[in-house]
């Protein structure tokens, strides 16, 4: 199952890329696979793939999620962004 990770703000700045495709069925596995590919992001999440305070995940531009067990569907986009949106 392929999921598109899209970086915004600090995560994009740290990763140095706009995004990547990963194989994952849940938010947690998608985040962990992303961190494995981009070690510069390792402080963004806990061991179970939960994002640390300071960062948010959003599925397909519609729904904000945080539970690492959140299921993902093939073709979903997961946006990883700084939690302090606005200002």
């Amino acid at each position: 199952m392929s999921v598109r990770i899209e970086f915004f703000g600090v995560p994009r700045h740290r990763a140095g890329v706009v995004g990547l495709d990963v194989a994952a069925a849940t938010l947690g596995t998608a985040v962990l696979e992303t961190v494995r590919r981009f070690p510069a992001l390792k402080e963004f999440c806990a061991a179970d793939g939960a994002l640390c305070p300071g960062f948010l995940a959003n599925v397909n531009g519609r729904t904000f999620v945080s539970d690492p067990a959140t299921p993902l569907a093939d073709g979903d986009s997961v946006l990883i962004l700084s939690s302090d949106v606005g200002g």
């Binding site: 600090v10 300071g54 949106v85 606005g86």
Partner: protein, 601 residues
């Protein structure tokens, strides 16, 4: 005057007509109940504002307010509030600014300045512990706010800090700013109020210290807070600045585009920080006493034409996508022009975007004024600041312009209570829609942080229900206390419990045993006072709404495609909010709530 740690215990009332200044004691219980900044300013404004007084009349007060934390080692505390009845909205206006003016202003030995009256000719004011001086400013006429401040500061010598208005303020543009050190008390037209008094600049200098109740503990706390302010919660502001919001908002379909006709902008990528950085050098800076360092200053032009401008999301959105502009150099030039002339970028961009739509619909005769025409945008900013041509009308804001243009244009004039809407699409951020509608100074993202609720798991931002109300109130209360202490909102993410942390800081400075619950009650009191001010100045429940466009047109594209609002649903949210505030269902504070404030004269 008796003083209390953190305070001098008085405000300086300056009558420009009489050329007289008098310190007036502030009762200690008022300080505790209204704190400082926006809260204390509301209390002062209530006592000095006769109902129905024209905001540009000589007797109308212009209030500068400091706070107990100003001058302390607490990071981001070098801030001041400017308060007035807005000439743009007719409602309460509190705009905040930063840096050395706040520190030097408090060192004059006063917690606030209340300025009334008017000068016979353009004048500058010098405020020091020894008293006030009035100096001719005719040689500063027409200068930019920064040019005037530099010239005046040079003439005065070291130690002075200056806030000034630009040509827009002198010309009474209803959304003119007051500027200091490149930062603006931006929204609502306080610069026009200063201009109406023929006051070009205010210089402050002093050596008076208000003292702290627990200096050693305060220093230790401040060191720890500074350390935490370097962490991930503020990394976005430090590394990228608020301009990084642009691509996020575009992706979420919440980026107001072409006068709120869309929530996405095809040219967003060319305005993204990465793209702008690849073309224009950037330097960073920070306000006085700030460890976050959010200012990202872009340099453009060359030789004698080179300029530098501080970029934020709000000026990027308002002078870019909202006007259909994708050329970053145009946006930089337009932002620099607003800085130079002293124009609020959100209201300037919103009003011009409205005029562009009017022109495209054939409602006004302005052939060049089209979405995406950067030259027309720059020319119109010039016309507005100097009140020439169509700029004469647009200098009064989109609400007044729509009233004159007619032909149904009020339906898409992008304002609430006359204040142009900032860069948050209300159909796709519906808690923010509520925040805009009930905001005491109009459409406002600083006094209500309701968008934080939309950008969370707590609500479905496209279908917000009553469960969002207490969360929206919580963000408004937190903002109210931050604006009264005053602290920068970019610190928000540093705290686990914001009100508890702010209570601790206030306690360390003042010696009061303050709790989060007390601050929650204080926030409610200040919000009540602002609402009471508006009621006295003619507020009616009908003002708490959004332009008709937001009820009639769904968003056409992007991740929020199809999002719409119904008037009935928004009204249900507003009524629920009013009742949760302890007001009547229509939004009037109770007699018991009103009894806590001074009567207007």
């Amino acid at each position: 005057m008796s003083s209390h740690p953190g305070y001098h215990g008085s405000y300086l009332r300056i009558d420009l007509t009489e050329r007289r200044a008098e310190p007036i004691a502030i009762p200690p219980h008022v300080l505790r109940r209204f704190i400082g900044g926006s809260g204390l300013g509301t209390w002062l404004l209530l006592g000095e504002s006769p109902a129905g007084l024209d905001p540009l009349a000589p007797a109308a007060p212009l209030v500068f307010v400091f706070s107990p934390l100003v001058g302390s080692p607490l990071t981001t505390s070098a801030k001041f509030a400017v308060m007035c009845r807005s000439p743009l909205t007719g409602r309460i206006n509190d705009s905040l600014s930063s840096s050395h003016f706040a520190i030097a202003g408090k060192k004059t030995g006063h917690d606030a300045f209340v300025i009334v009256g008017e000068c016979e000719k353009l004048t500058s004011l010098v405020i020091e512990p020894e008293g006030v001086r009035f100096e001719s400013a005719t040689e500063l006429a027409g200068l930019s706010s920064s040019g005037a401040a530099e010239q005046f500061q040079r003439a005065l010598g070291p130690g002075y800090r200056v806030a000034a208005i630009g040509p827009a303020g002198e010309n009474l543009v209803r959304y003119a700013t007051i500027s200091h050190d490149g930062r603006h008390a931006g929204r609502g037209g306080s610069g026009a109020v200063m201009g109406s008094k023929r006051l070009k600049a205010i210089a402050v200098r002093g050596d008076r210290q208000a003292g702290y109740a627990h200096p050693e503990r305060l220093l230790a706390y401040s060191k720890d807070l500074s350390q935490r302010s370097f962490g991930p919660a503020t990394e976005k502001y430090r590394e990228l600045g608020t301009v990084s919001n642009l691509l996020v908002f575009n992706r979420l379909g919440t980026l107001p585009t072409r006068n709120f006709q869309s929530g996405t902008f095809a040219g967003a990528a060319t305005l993204a920080p990465e793209a702008v950085l690849s073309q224009f050098p950037r330097t960073r800076a920070s306000c006085a006493a700030c460890t976050i360092g959010c200012e990202h200053i872009f340099h453009f032009g060359s030789g004698s034409d080179s300029q530098a401008v501080r970029m934020e999301y709000e000026n990027l959105f308002a002078l870019g996508p909202l006007c259909g502009i994708a050329d970053p150099e145009v946006v930089l030039k337009a932002s620099a022009a607003c800085d130079e002339w002293g124009l609020d970028t959100i209201s300037a961009g919103g009003t011009i975007a409205f005029a562009m739509e009017c022109a495209e619909r054939g409602l006004i005769d302005a052939p060049e004024l089209r979405f995406g025409n950067g030259a027309a945008l720059l020319a119109m900013l010039d016309q507005i600041a100097h009140r020439r041509g169509l700029g004469e009308l647009l200098a009064r804001g989109s609400r007044a312009a729509a009233q004159e243009i007619g032909q149904g244009s009020a339906d898409f004039a992008p304002h609430v209570k006359g204040l142009e809407i900032p860069g948050y699409e209300p159909r796709a951020l519906q808690t923010m829609a509520l925040g805009f509608a009930v905001g005491t100074r109009g459409a406002d993202h600083n006094r209500s942080g309701a968008y934080q609720v939309d950008f969370s798991e707590a609500v479905d931002r496209l279908h917000v229900g009553p469960a969002a109300i207490p969360l929206a109130i919580e963000t408004e209360d937190e903002a109210t206390i931050m604006d009264s202490l005053i602290l920068c909102k970019f610190l928000r993410g540093v705290f686990d419990d914001k009100l508890a942390a702010m209570a601790e800081m206030l306690g360390l400075v003042t010696g009061w045993e303050v709790t989060a619950d007390e601050l929650r009650r204080t926030a409610a009191r200040i919000v009540n006072a602002k609402k009471h001010f508006n009621v006295l100045q003619g507020w009616t429940p009908a003002e708490d709404t959004l332009p008709a466009r937001f009820f009639a047109e769904a968003l056409p594209d992007g991740a929020s495609a199809g999002a719409n609002l119904s008037r009935t649903h928004l009204q249900t949210l507003i009524t629920t909010y009013n009742l949760a505030r302890g007001w009547s269902a229509e939004g009037y504070p109770t007699a018991g709530q009103v009894a806590e404030f001074p009567a207007a004269n």
